[in-house]
Amino acid sequence: MTIIAVTSGKGGTGKTTIAVSLALSLENAQLLDADVEEPNCKLFLPIKPSVVAPAEIPIPVIDNEICTHCGKCSESCEYHALANMPFEVLVFEKICHGCGVCSYVCPEKAITESPRKIGEILSGSHNSLLFHYGEMLVGEELATPIITKLKKFEDQTKPFIIYDSPPGSACPMVETVSDADFVIIVGEPTPFGLSDMKIVVETLEKLGKKMGVIINKDGIGNDEMEEFCKAKNIPILLKIPYDVKIAEAYSRGIPLIQAFPEWQTKFVELANKIQEMIKNDS
């Protein structure tokens, strides 16, 4: 089982394009869309997914009959999610991280926990492709717990597990890649693209991850991204040229390898190359 995460730093560089085509090119893979704020993989797949589980955070429920208003719970909450008011303790549900501190510290044992739904995990399949994604409810703050839940649906029998990661380099991306054997960084060769890639590379280096770069929309900007990769010894796995026809097919929700079948062999080669790189390093 090889876990490959597709990240980017900058949004809109082509993570979903690549994750979807990579998963479709492989025999017997699982695709997990961890961009739970805006999950787009489903738009490119002939799958009607259904809900398989809720994503929940345990939030405190205070028994006001037992509560003595000692204030220990609100003092101990690092997120200021509790307010000790004269006649009740208020819980600010959306900023509660579900850490369990308040129920632990309550000297009267007046706090129990109740699950609050913040999103869903959905799934479906097409031929041998197994697909799961997480979707956050609009207005919720925390994406990461939904990603943690999504990861529990990994199918260990699949030879390849592909993650479509959220953009950026903060907590949601870190959670997505934390168990990956290899991380593909999709970049666009422009100043914005390079700046954001450097931040992702720094994060992945901290995590000790093996990585490689795919340059998408090649030709749109300059050579600085390629030079950066060479200087850092990060392999450039593939280059996809800037082509309005590719953008147009994408706009209609058609996967790259469907609109341009000649790319299928390249993605199969990509997966094999990645497996080789993992084997050679260990």
Binding site: K10, E38, G100, G139, E141, T203
Partner: protein
């Protein structure tokens, strides 16, 4: 006329890579005498690449706390390891700082007080001089969380500076998505500018972004960028969202934007070479005027 309460406009998108930073940099350069620019895309800030800021202030940002297990006091009872809900304590009883959420549960459960919670510097806030005026920006240390809190600091600082410098408008560049950092960038904003692109993904994400601004009661104007990639979907977007937005605009796809970026300029600082490029510039100027009208911004200069 004194500015006591500057207005705030935030640019968001839902979908990444649709052109938020390119568009806001054009608006900022056009309205420069009346704005403070705030880059709230704290884990992937890009405006510095256009405006080459000279830092005048830099502060540490403490996003939260991290737990630290003091091995000399630890009796290896593993209570912390078993209690942590975020898998942040390894089998060697070491706290993984990238997973630690700083909640303090381990500190509370430890029977021998071997764990302390320490303030964690997870980024920096900067105030800088640029050719278009003052810019407030930030950098979240890679891998960190609490970006929403840093976004709030950026906005608060920008507002303070706007009052100090008597600028009637704060322009905020938001991040992609609809989660915590985006919410922090739109709460209390006077207007949102939502950028989208005419793709299936674009519409999907736009729906969620519009639902978000509706929940937070922020009115919005809509810009369909790269509109000529798919005229059909552009028309569909304008039809579906036209009545919900205060105003709608379209901008065609043109490497003019990339050329400006490569030259460290906004699109309104570059010479238009074709009619299409000139039209793009006119639309951006029109968007600026509409923003001023909607927010009743009277030029202070």
């Amino acid at each position: 006329m004194t500015v006591e309460s500057p207005k705030q406009l935030t640019v968001i998108s839902g979908k990444g890579g649709v052109g938020k930073s390119s568009i806001i940099s054009a608006l900022a350069s056009f309205m420069q005498e009346n704005i403070i620019l705030a880059d709230a895309d704290v884990d992937a800030a890009d405006l510095y690449l256009i405006f080459s800021p000279e830092e005048t202030e830099k502060e540490e940002f403490v996003g939260g706390k991290k737990a630290h297990i003091h091995k000399s006091l630890c009796i290896e009872c593993f209570k912390c390891y078993e209690s942590c809900r975020f898998d942040a304590i390894t089998e060697d009883l070491v706290v993984d700082p990238l997973k630690c959420e700083g909640c303090g549960l381990c500190y509370h459960v430890c029977p021998v007080n071997a764990i302390t919670l320490e303030d964690s510097v997870s980024g920096h806030l900067m105030v800088s001089k640029t050719r278009i005026g003052t810019m407030v920006h930030a950098r979240l240390t890679p891998g960190e969380e609490n970006s929403g809190k840093l976004v709030t600091e950026v906005r608060t600082r920008a507002k303070e500076i706007a009052v100090k410098e008597q600028k009637p408008l704060v322009l905020v560049d938001g991040s992609p998505g609809i989660g915590c950092p985006v919410i922090s960038s739109i709460t209390g904003a006077d207007l949102a500018l939502i950028v989208t692109e005419p793709t299936i993904s674009g519409i999907h994400d736009l729906n969620r972004a519009v639902e978000l601004v509706k929940q937070f009661r922020v009115p919005f104007i809509l810009v369909v960028n790269k509109s000529d990639i798919n005229d059909e979907i552009t028309a569909q977007i304008l039809q579906e969202f036209g009545s919900r937005a205060l105003r709608t605009f379209t901008l065609p796809n043109d490497l003019f934007f990339t050329k400006a970026m490569l030259n460290k300029l906004s699109v309104l600082e570059l010479e238009a070479e074709t009619e299409k490029q000139a039209a793009i510039q006119n639309t951006l100027k029109e968007i600026s005027q509409v923003i001023k009208q909607l927010l009743k911004i009277q030029a202070t200069k």
